[in-house]
């Protein structure tokens, strides 16, 4: 899931400077799960914007604002209300904001910060697990990714700052390599760690990336 956080309201208001009529878009998937862009959060931000003198021309929680097909459908059904707006405020990840912006031909501004791809442990607790490098080697590391979970993305073992299972960057962070060693011991695959790992192939992650099967 794409984990999002609410953008500072002051910054949102700044981005909407000079725009009086706003249409608010929510996200029915990831941002709803993160409690950052669902029905409730759309309702909340509408209240705040109204207090600050903005006129809300409409609002809608698109099931997935990152799916252009759904955004096209949304733009047709909500056309009259969108047309009255000077800008859209999107409570979704960066992919959602851009997909909406491409379709509606109006400025679309982010209300959230897209922070990472990760897991939900429970409500309000999210952890980064994958950087989508395009060169997955989880089979070597007991299913724990050092690229995403080691601050230095080290591939051949921990740095000298790993101590008592924690990372030098922050004592509240687990050292990914400590976790990998422990997991591989559990799996009786410790020998895998002794193998030299080549540098990552960053040509697999040339931006912008695309998958075109057809």
């Amino acid at each position: 899931m794409i984990i999002t956080e609410k953008k500072e309201y002051k910054k949102i208001l700044e981005s909407l400077k000079g725009m009086d009529n706003i249409y608010v878009v929510g996200c029915g998937r990831c941002a709803t799960s993160c409690s950052t862009g669902g029905e409730e959060q759309v309702f909340d931000i509408i209240g705040k914007l109204k207090k600050d003198g903005k006129k809300i021309t409409g609002s809608y929680v698109i099931e997935a604002p990152c799916d252009e097909r759904l955004v096209l459908k949304f733009s047709r059904t909500e056309k009259s209300r969108i047309d009255k707006a000077d800008a859209l405020l999107v409570l979704g990840c960066g992919a959602g904001v851009q997909t909406v912006s491409d379709v509606v031909k109006l400025p679309a501004y982010p209300a959230l910060e897209s922070v990472f791809l990760g897991k939900t442990k429970n409500l309000g607790r999210f952890y980064e697990l994958c950087v989508m490098c395009g060169d997955c080697a989880l089979e070597e590391t007991g299913g724990i990714c050092p690229v995403a979970r080691c601050s230095k993305h080290l591939l051949n073992g921990p740095c000298g700052g790993s101590h008592k299972g924690k990372c030098e960057v922050d004592q509240n962070l687990d050292c990914a390599w400590y976790l990998i060693f422990e997991r591989l011991k559990e799996l009786k695959q410790f020998d895998r760690i002794k193998k030299y790992q080549k540098p990552k192939d960053y040509s697999k992650a040339i931006r912008p990336r695309k998958v075109e099967l057809r």
Partner: protein, 287 residues
Amino acid sequence: MTFKEALKNKDFVITAELSPPKGVELEEVLKKADFLKGKVDGVNATDNQVAVLHLSSVAFCALLKQKGLDPILQMNCRDRNALAMQADLLGAYALGIRNVLAVSGDYPKKSLHHVVKPVFDIDSVQLIRSINEMNKGIDFAGEKLIGAPSFTVGGVVNPGADPIEGQLVKLKKKIDAGAQFIQTQIVYDIDGFKKFRDKTKDVKIKILLGILPIRSAKMAQNILNIPGVHIPKKILERIEKSKDPIQEGINISAEIINGLKGYIDGVHFMTLNNVEVIPSILEKIKA
């Protein structure tokens, strides 16, 4: 005698690090370089240590070379991608620099430069291997170099890390990648280091013990914040009670080195540029 020759021929090799300045005022630090002449086998030039801006380690090594010292270029994996690393290595070689110490590099989080993008394109094991490939005339992409360098390359280890197995696995990988010497993180715990050496008996390359002479009780407390560095209580008490903590730090450093004779192949002094204490420590080292 060059550092490379010292590694080959001497039983006890001595190196010291110098940090280049944050700025271009070099007079003071070059005086310290002059002071080290004839006292050490090699001088490390730190590379933006603790992610704080300093004058380039390559440029500083070239200045050390001009002073007649044999510089050891520290190269971290944080500040350059593999292309820039190779370019700097070739440039360093052209300037007469023959030794490299590969390190991961501290994360910039605690530095004033914490907003920068850390690179970590390759890790220290991969860097050691790449340098040895360059020594064979092959670049990172597997293509031929026009003229191969001949670097003596080393790595680091933290003997106090707990658990130690991560360090042991990585140390073995560094040696397999062609590391020719090891300089350790600073050590105060004699028994702890002996245990580490018992686990690394098969290491044939020289291990130089990291020594940072403590200068005050406050400094000791700061050192305790370094992951995997343990200062035994007795040492802390001696520093706290001493009327001359700098002299006490010198005494303690010599005792650690003497206490580890037979377990180490030399010493690497990391004095935070207080190099003037080095001769006083060396005087106390038993043959």
